[in-house]
C-alpha cells in the first residue's frame, strides 16, 4: 500500500463552517434528519420480520402492522430526505423511497399469499 497525499475538493460543492446558534441548529437538524433514516431502517426490518415470522404462507391475520410499519418507514425516510435536500432532488428522492416502499410491500403481500415461499 502506498500513501496518497492528494488534496481533493469537490468542484461542485463547498464546505462552510457555522458557529453558535446557527451551528447548534444545523447540528440538531443534521442529527435528527440522519436519525430519521435509522428509524426508517428499524421499522422496515420490523415490518419484514413481522411478515416473515407471523404471516407466512396464508397465515396472515390481517392486523395490518406490516403496512403501518412500512408506511412509517417511508415517512421517516422522506422526512430525512426533506431535511437534507432541496428542490427537485428532494422530490426525486422521496419518489424513489415511495417506490421502494411499494415494491417491498408488494413482496410482503406475495410472501403472505404463499407466492414466494
Amino acid at each position: 500500500m502506498q500513501a496518497s497525499d492528494e488534496i481533493k475538493a469537490k468542484p461542485s460543492s463547498m464546505r462552510r463552517v457555522y458557529f453558535g446558534v446557527t451551528g447548534l441548529w444545523l447540528r440538531l437538524r443534521n442529527t435528527i434528519t440522519a436519525g430519521l433514516f435509522g428509524v426508517s431502517g428499524a421499522t422496515t426490518v420490523a415490518s419484514v420480520q413481522h411478515a416473515l415470522h407471523t404471516c407466512s404462507a396464508g397465515n396472515c391475520a390481517g392486523c395490518g402492522r406490516c403496512a403501518v410499519a412500512l408506511l412509517a418507514a417511508v415517512a421517516a425516510a422522506s422526512g430525512g430526505i426533506a431535511g437534507r435536500t432541496k428542490g427537485r432532488r428532494r422530490w426525486g428522492f422521496i419518489a424513489l423511497v415511495v417506490v421502494i416502499g411499494l415494491a417491498l410491500y408488494a413482496m410482503i403481500e406475495a410472501w403472505k399469499r404463499g407466492l414466494l415461499s
Partner: protein
C-alpha cells in the same frame, strides 16, 4: 473552501509496526471473546450458569442478553427483573456502565461479531470499498435505529432476534463443529449480506453493521459520549498541538470515527488535524497505536476545544445553494 485528504496507508515504519502489533493483540482479545460467549466453547455461559448438559446455543443471549436487553430498556418488566438481580438483565446495564467510564470496550475488544466483519474487510482492496469517514453521520443514523428498536415492541413489532448477527455467528460456530442448527431463515441471509458482505467486505474498516445497525453499540456509544464530557472518564483524547496531520489515525480507524478536520479547526503543528466522533468511537485504540506523534491518547481529562468554540458545524453545500 474545505479540503479532504485521502489517506489509505500508514507513513511511518515504527507506527506501522506498532499498529500491527496492536491489531494482533485486539484480535487475540476478540478470539477470547468468541471463546467466552459463542459456541462451541461458551465458557462464560457454562461457568456462569452451569449449563453443561443441556443443549446450549451458548451465545451472548444466554449469558448477557444484550440485544434483547436494549430492546426491553423502556419496559417495566425489564426493570422488575433488574430489581430481582436477574443476571441476564443486569448484563446490559453493566456494559452501559463500563462504556460510561471506559468507553465501549465491549465493541472494541470483545465483540467477535464485529471483529469478523472487520477482519473480512481486509480481504478486499480499498478502492472497491465505501468509506464513510467524515461523509455520513453514522452515529445519528444508528441512534435513530436504536429509537426504532426500543419503541417498536410497544406496537407489537420487533426488530430483534431474526436480524441478530450474534445469533448468526453462533449458528456458524455450531455448523463448524457439526452441531444441529435449530432454525435457519431467509432473514439470516439478509443479516449475512448486510453484516459480512456490504458492511464487512465492501466497507472500509469493515464495521458497517456496527456503524449503522447495532443497537448494543448505539446504547454504549450514547453512554460513552455522555461520559466523555466528564474529566474523570477514559476516552480518546486529541492533542492538536502535537498533530502533524499525517492522518494515519484516519486510515486505521475501523469505525471511521476519526476524520480530517476542516482547515482552521485546530492550531496544529501542520495541516488541518482531525476530529473524533465519540458517538462512533469504540476505544479500540488502533489510532493511538498508529499515531507517530503521540497526538492521540486513551486517557482521562477534558477535550480540547476547537478554534472558535465547541459548537462548530461543517456543512457541505452545492454551489447552487442546495445541501
Amino acid at each position: 473552501m474545505g479540503a479532504r485528504r485521502k489517506s489509505s496507508a500508514i507513513t511511518s515504519q515504527k507506527a506501522l509496526w506498532r499498529n500491527r502489533r496492536h491489531l494482533y493483540i485486539r484480535y487475540a482479545s476478540y478470539f477470547i471473546g468468541f471463546l467466552l460467549f459463542y459456541t462451541p466453547a461458551s465458557i462464560f455461559v457454562r461457568l456462569f450458569y452451569g449449563m453443561q448438559d443441556q443443549h446450549l446455543t451458548g451465545n451472548i443471549c444466554d449469558s448477557l442478553n444484550l440485544r434483547m436487553g436494549v430492546g426491553a430498556l423502556l419496559k417495566p418488566e425489564f426493570w422488575e427483573r433488574v430489581v430481582a438481580t436477574e443476571p441476564r438483565s443486569l448484563g446490559i446495564l453493566i456494559v452501559i456502565a463500563i462504556a460510561f467510564v471506559f468507553g465501549p470496550i465491549f465493541c472494541g475488544w470483545i465483540c467477535a461479531a464485529g471483529a469478523l466483519s472487520e477482519g473480512l474487510s481486509r480481504l478486499v482492496p480499498e478502492r472497491f470499498q465505501i468509506d464513510i469517514a467524515g461523509v455520513v453521520d453514522a452515529g445519528a443514523i444508528r441512534y435513530g435505529f436504536l429509537v426504532g428498536f426500543m419503541t417498536l415492541p410497544f406496537y407489537g413489532l420487533s426488530a430483534g432476534c431474526s436480524y441478530c448477527n450474534y445469533r448468526v455467528l453462533d449458528y456458524m460456530g455450531i455448523a463448524m463443529t457439526g452441531g444441529f442448527i435449530p432454525a435457519v431463515s431467509s432473514t439470516y441471509l439478509v443479516v449475512i449480506a448486510l453484516w459480512l458482505v456490504l458492511g464487512g467486505l465492501f466497507m472500509k474498516g469493515g464495521r458497517g453493521w456496527c456503524n449503522f445497525l447495532c443497537p448494543i453499540g448505539a446504547v454504549q456509544n450514547l453512554s460513552h459520549a455522555l461520559g466523555s464530557r466528564f474529566g474523570f472518564t477514559f476516552k480518546l483524547k486529541y492533542t492538536p498541538t502535537s498533530c502533524k496531520s499525517c492522518f494515519n489515525c484516519v486510515a486505521v480507524c475501523p469505525m471511521r470515527a476519526v476524520a480530517p478536520a476542516a482547515e482552521g479547526t485546530w492550531d496544529t503543528m501542520g495541516g488541518s488535524g482531525v476530529v473524533i466522533n465519540h458517538h462512533s468511537c469504540i476505544t479500540c485504540n488502533q489510532c493511538v497505536a498508529a499515531c507517530p506523534h503521540n497526538a492521540l491518547a486513551y486517557s482521562t481529562g477534558k477535550h480540547p476545544k476547537p478554534v472558535g468554540g465547541s459548537i462548530r458545524v461543517e456543512v457541505e453545500e452545492k454551489r447552487d445553494g442546495a445541501y
